[in-house]
Chain length 413, copies 2
């Protein structure tokens, strides 16, 4: 079985939108055990769309397409498919009723152009869209099964899971199981080196997903039945976790901020930050997840030195003696935040994010961290490679990692 | 002239990396006046790569490719091109010297595998890479000119600008000019409606780029000489700006945070925030740009009510009478931040980001803002559609927009 992903839309070929649909579909199909052998991106041009459909149908057994199902005159995917399969368009009353009802529910009158979204090539299987007005459909084109879905990610993803995933998995023999391992703190090439030999030893495939500054390791086992695949993946994943050691912080969907939140919640510890170079980024990462008010009480972003003194109680003499970017000031900031915010655990960060402000003694990328708790104050110093946004994000992640280790180590009673 | 973008790499067809290179190249080529008629994404598989190269060379006049030029055994683009053009690989001594020197400069010993990065099909033009070890190259395949560049964005982009852009522009007749207009506060469909008729009236093409929550409007003029294109684009852009009114905040690369920063800097006004529902997001957006310390002094993220009282001086009675999400508390937070941070202008935000915590009176998406300055305090209330990250980002942008209007209006002396 070979699979092609077809992405239709001039907004893609003009670079107005990044094709995250193709990424998501590729990842899902790979997880299901299907190899994507081609991705094609084409503009809303009937000649190009029809030629591409014919070519893909001649080369692949499954075509998964997104885009061009909207109500405007630009949206021509359905007409092109009808032309390629040589079938007339026919109106589907159930789809028209659903589109009409959806408009009524949101108090809008339906434009005449929306009606065409209920037209499909004769013989097509309609894929209902509970999240929008554009239903999808599937047809056979020559020997290929082709699925057409809307380009809106929030409509496409549930449609794929409901209708396309099963069709793709149907072609895969035997069991398949994937375990995702989340890491922070080691470069992808170093992770790769550490995991040398695991693929052949366990008969699995190891994939990576770099979502800066995290590296996600995906362990996929295939063959036998589902139970066998699960057991093989688990054994390989256990070895991955053992070899990577403390850079592993979770499995599955949890990001580092959520993992730290879970540790704090579990121990009923309240938390806050004192941030200089990260400018509120740590607080933002933590509060982006729902339910942060369970443990997160607040943050003091002390960018100017006199805010460090006024809001965090960092002594002016300490700032004068060591400079704002120093382990001493980081410790005072964390302890000050613990008092000012009334929290059990406080993290501070002070550093030089650049591009200017570096000196030979304190170069761009230098960051001091401290975590203050009832168990005392711990500080760390790290130097990150350049790039202001990268330094800030790496610093935020390193700070959260320090919090996680101290809390898990039982050092923040 | 027709152009294809070829993206090579199994990390793409497995969905481990989003193909932002194709987006960037599509946008740049479109800006240069070249229509991208096809994007192809293929794995590191010689059969697929060679077949795709042959197919694209038969259909297009320009091929712009990225990926597969690295030192590992997976990186096979060069070998595939050599096979397709029927030329042997030859080592380029200048490239080998440059790769060796680059390794020496970073104190690393060169792996034997890096040497193959200086091999090119006989007759190829080498494209030097000052930002990494992998040079690019260009060859003719049949009637098409094909450029091969590394997949690392920081290496690919300067190589494109130095070597590929001129070759692409060479095929475009006459002048071309593009003006980018940045907006926040109006949906893309509404922007589109407002601009109806401008394309035909001025003879320009209007494109959009949605970078949530911003909508960028791109006005492209083509034809005549460069001066004519520039004049036509300017006239159309002026009408776009006039029709869109105050949702336009800048032209070019400046994002909203930078536009607000420029207004504050110009007037020598210091700034800080008091954030509840946005959890430090506004401070983070402002400090992500270099040089924020010119005007940004700090932020108090008061997530818990008693932090609002302790750190911002919001009276407990006010919180009890109106609730934390109220115009009254927003005003007290902004005034408290102005005092606590010692700033000329302070912005506060308090709202319900969800998904839980909403009530019929105070639904999810409700946000109160206030801006306090020497000229007084102004508050606003907005209700955003759901999605926690979206509500937070829209609130941050709306808050910054309020700051911009007040500062520009001269109300913050």
């Amino acid at each position: 079985m070979t699979v092609a992903i077809l992405s239709i839309g001039t907004e893609l070929t003009r670079g107005e939108v990044t094709n995250t649909n193709a990424t998501w579909l590729s990842e899902e199909l790979t997880r299901l055990g299907v190899d994507v052998t081609e991705g094609a991106t084409v503009p809303d041009d009937p000649v190009v769309i029809e030629a591409t459909l014919r070519r893909l149908a001649g080369a692949h057994t499954l075509i998964v397409s997104t885009g061009g199902l909207g109500p405007t005159t630009d949206d021509i995917t359905t007409e092109c498919v009808a032309a390629v399969v040589g079938a007339p368009l026919e109106r589907d009353q159930a789809s028209l009723d659903a589109i009409t009802a959806r408009h009524a529910r949101f108090g809008r009158t339906m434009a005449a152009s929306n009606a065409k979204q209920s037209d499909f090539p004769r013989g097509a299987t309609v894929l209902p869209n509970p999240h929008g007005t554009a239903p999808g459909f599937s047809v056979n084109i020559g020997g290929a099964r082709a699925f057409f879905m809307p380009g809106v990610p929030g409509e496409m993803k549930p449609m794929f899971q409901a209708h396309v995933a099963a069709a793709a998995a149907h072609h895969v023999d035997g069991g398949i199981h994937q375990i995702r391992i989340r890491t922070f703190g080691m470069a992808e090439s170093a992770v790769n080196d550490r995991l040398a030999g695991i693929e052949t030893k366990h008969g699995v495939v190891i994939g990576y997903r770099a979502h800066f500054p995290e590296i996600e390791v995906k362990v996929r086992a295939r063959g036998g039945d589902d139970e066998t695949a699960k057991r093989v993946a688990r054994a390989a994943a256990d070895e991955v976790v053992e070899r990577l050691g403390e850079v592993v912080y979770a499995e599955g969907d949890e990001d580092l901020a959520e993992a730290v939140a879970a540790e704090l919640r579990q121990r009923h510890l309240s938390f806050g930050t004192a941030e200089s170079c990260t400018g509120g980024l740590v607080a933002n990462l933590l509060t982006n997840a729902p339910g942060a008010s369970d443990y997160f009480r607040g943050a003091i972003v002390a960018y100017a030195n006199d805010v460090k003194t006024a809001a965090l109680g960092v002594p002016e003499a300490l700032l004068a003696a060591h400079g704002a970017v120093s382990a001493e000031v980081a410790r005072a900031m964390a302890e000050g935040a613990r008092r000012a915010l009334g929290v059990d655990v406080a993290l501070s960060l002070t550093g030089i994010a650049g591009p200017s402000g570096g000196t030979p003694e304190k170069p761009v990328g230098l960051v001091h961290f401290a975590v203050a708790s009832a168990g005392g104050t711990t500080d760390r110093t790290l130097l990150f490679p350049s790039g202001r946004p990268q330094i800030r994000l790496m610093a935020a992640y390193a700070g959260l990692t320090l919090v996680r280790r101290i809390v898990r180590g039982g050092h923040a009673p």
